[in-house]
């Protein structure tokens, strides 16, 4: 019998990478945080990225609407009532002129008393950039008159035409975006608050809390949203100031939206609360609030963000519909729905179709949110 092999321990620290060497790509992949991986996934979804960029641009615009808009919200061009859109040209008679619009000639058709505008190809109105134009009050605080783009000094620039008071539709749509785009954000914030706390309580505590919440969710989900929105906003007191009405509407929009979110939170929590780390947290004396907010929710924040992105469009459409019906926001607040009130009758469609242009803004935003939300949903779980 030979001697037993002496017990040998290598004193050097063990480095697993000596056994399985990682290529730089692999290392980058394994070391990436969850959010980084979500971003990589999202980047592959080109439509979603494009939508995201459009949305960021639009939201950035709402911050500096006064500067971006060529006209002020209430500027009335009484000589140009119901003027059709003017398009921007670069070349006149084959020669480069820089961006300009052709002037409009107005005359009243005496037969049907219709205002008729004809494009005057001799009248070239050069656009001005970084210029002084209509004076405004920036966010109601700072007075100014600097614009990114203005019409020529005695000319006009109605990219989207004018309404019945001769106000520039393009500028009004820009101003309207400030309200229309934020309604969705405020609404979803409120709905998030309700959905996470109610769904969280239901999923974490289970038992009768869960049963009650489930029933309430079932009832709310089986009701048609719009009629209830209509009824609730009709109940807002007429004496309220516009700002209060705005918040009232966002709360109403959020109030019927939370069940979907609450249901998602609940089902996730039901599964996650059985995990060991959750029991550990409870045994160390963490309060239910802390366990839910610090230990459980971060597991599926990405899913929640994705579903929130998908429910914002419904809110924007809801606000538009309510305002259009005269039950939501009212002038002097300007939102896309308020602007669309002008296009309410069939005459507008037949004679002044550009009054429906706020719809294009709505469509772009809703589509962008849908695409972005789809992309986020696919990317939300990068480990799958």
């Amino acid at each position: 019998m030979s001697e037993p092999v002496p017990h040998y321990v290598n004193q050097d620290p063990f480095d697993p990478y000596t056994i399985e060497a990682l290529t730089p790509e692999q290392e980058r992949y394994y070391m990436a945080s969850q959010w980084k991986m979500i971003w990589w996934r999202l980047k592959k979804h080109r439509l979603a990225v494009a939508s995201g960029i459009i949305l960021i641009f639009m939201y950035a615009t709402t911050l500096i609407v006064e500067i971006m808009a060529p006209y002020e919200l209430h500027t009335r061009n009484t000589n140009f009532i119901y003027a059709p859109p003017q398009s921007i040209h670069l070349f006149h008679d084959g020669s480069f002129e820089g961006p300009f619009v052709y002037g409009l000639d107005y005359h009243l058709n005496m037969e049907n008393l219709k205002r008729e505008y004809t494009v005057n190809p001799d009248k070239i109105d050069h656009l001005r950039f970084f210029c002084l134009g209509d004076s405004y009050s920036f966010w109601g605080l700072i007075d100014g008159s600097f614009h990114l783009i203005c019409p020529s000094r005695d000319g006009t620039m109605f990219l989207y035409g004018t309404d019945r008071l001769g106000r520039d539709m393009f500028s009004r749509i820009l101003y309207g975006s400030r309200i229309s785009l934020t309604v969705g954000l405020f609404g979803i914030a409120f709905s998030f608050l309700l959905g996470i706390s109610i769904g969280g309580a239901a999923g974490y505590f289970g038992g009768w809390v869960d049963a009650t919440v489930q029933r309430v969710i079932e009832v709310l989900r089986s009701l048609p949203e719009l009629p209830l929105w209509m009824a609730l906003s009709a109940a807002l007191p007429i004496t309220w100031s516009p700002i209060l009405v705005f918040f009232g509407i966002t709360i109403i929009l959020g109030m019927l939206d939370w069940p979907g979110l609450a249901r998602a939170v609940r089902s996730k929590l039901l599964a996650l609360r059985e995990e060991d780390y959750c029991s550990a947290a409870i045994m160390m004396g963490a309060s239910p609030k802390r366990v839910i907010a610090r230990h459980l929710l971060p597991n599926f924040t990405s899913h929640l963000i994705a579903s929130a992105t998908l429910s914002i469009p419904a809110m924007i459409l809801g606000e538009t519909a309510l305002s259009f019906l005269g039950l939501g926001l009212r002038p002097p607040i300007t939102s896309w729905g308020v602007l669309l009130v002008e296009a309410q009758n069939i005459n507008a469609v037949a004679l002044y179709p550009w009054l429906m242009l706020p719809m294009s803004a709505v469509i772009v935003v809703v589509l962008a949110f849908n695409f972005l939300g789809d992309g986020l949903r696919d990317a939300a779980d990068p480990y799958s």
Binding site: V219, S222, E225, L226, A234, A235, L340, M356
Partner: protein, 332 residues
């Protein structure tokens, strides 16, 4: 099955009861009741207030009683088919609404059928031709339908329906049939007018339906049994129709729970824009003038329409899918 039916009926009753409480609260949200507004209005015009009438109305609704009692009066009235009293029209609600409820039901029902008819072939095509140009194009059109506000689409369609087909603007039938008893001609006229609102309301629902059917069918198409069937030489069409389509059809019916509230919502605003003789425009005007009993009746009706519709779809589902029948639960 009977057990399930009973349990489902009880759930439905519970939902309806909860809904009625909710709606009762909503219609009492505006400060003051209609009577006080009404009296103030009459007095401001220097008119004598008809005390007898006010007393009658007060008694009718027990406006002097506590809220739970008022609710009880209102709810029992509803159960007996007494829809309440419209202050604006000075008539019982049931006389004001006329065929509106029936026409609303016809409109919503037709829209659902339309959505199924359109979404089904498109969904199947999109799933079987995944990532083809047709799939992308149809998906995009679907998204567009989802993103366009119903009411504007209604306006535009109304205009073009009039220009191209000469359909009279607004309404659900030619003017001469208004207030006429139902006849073949009248039904035909209704059908000729119905398609515009049906298409308009249907667009948004169709888009969602197509996407869900496509997703379901794609899931099924990747399963083993499809591969087995293909390996055994089943013709593609037979393979598709006989197995995966059936499986994918199931959520199609179950999905009516999402679809119905959406369709009812859409029909309200579209009929308000097109001034169809359905509940939509009247609900709107009732809300604007705070004629809350009239509004409440409509709200209850619309809610009941969706709740009962979902009940019917759940029952259908159990007939369709033995798994649900056996386990006694509804998967949604």
């Amino acid at each position: 099955m009977l057990d399930y039916l009973i349990r489902r009926t009880i759930t439905m009753m519970f939902t309806l009861a909860a809904t009625s409480v909710l709606i009762f609260i909503i219609i009492h949200l505006p400060p003051g009741d209609y009577l006080s507004t009404y009296i103030a209005e009459l007095q401001s015009q220097g008119e004598m207030v008809d005390n007898e009438k006010i007393e009658f109305l007060r008694r009718q609704y027990g406006l002097d009683k506590s809220m739970p009692e008022q609710y009880f009066t209102w709810a029992t009235g509803l159960l007996q088919g007494d829809l309440g009293y419209s202050f604006e029209y000075n008539l019982p609600v049931s006389e004001v609404v006329g065929d509106r409820l029936l026409l609303s039901m016809i409109l919503n029902f037709t829209t659902i059928i339309f959505i199924y008819l359109v979404a089904f072939p498109i969904g199947v095509y999109s799933a079987t031709h995944q990532y083809s140009w047709g799939d992308h194009g149809l998906t995009f059109i679907g998204f567009l339908g989802l993103a366009t506000p119903n009411f504007l689409l209604a306006l535009v369609m109304l205009y073009f329906a009039n220009v191209w087909f000469g359909t009279s603007i607004g309404g659900l039938m030619d003017p001469q049939y208004l207030d006429q008893p139902w006849s073949i001609d009248k039904a035909w006229s209704v059908a000729a007018h119905l398609w515009v609102p049906v298409v308009v309301i249907g667009t948004s629902g169709t888009a969602g339906m197509i996407r869900r059917l496509r997703a379901n069918l794609l899931d099924e198409l990747q399963k083993q049994y499809v591969v087995t069937g293909r390996a055994k030489g089943l013709p593609p069409r037979k393979l598709l129709i006989k197995y995966p389509l059936r499986m994918a059809l199931n959520p199609f019916v179950a999905d009516i729970g999402n679809l119905l509230p959406q369709v009812v919502s859409g029909s309200v605003i579209v009929s308000a824009v097109m001034s169809l003789p359905t509940t939509g425009p009247m609900l709107l005007s009732a809300l604007q003038s705070q004629d809350m009993y009239l509004a409440g009746s409509f709200l209850i009706f619309l809610a009941a329409l969706t709740v009962v519709g979902m009940f019917v779809s759940d029952i259908l589902l159990t007939i369709l899918d033995p798994r649900i029948r056996l386990t006694g639960g509804v998967k949604r």
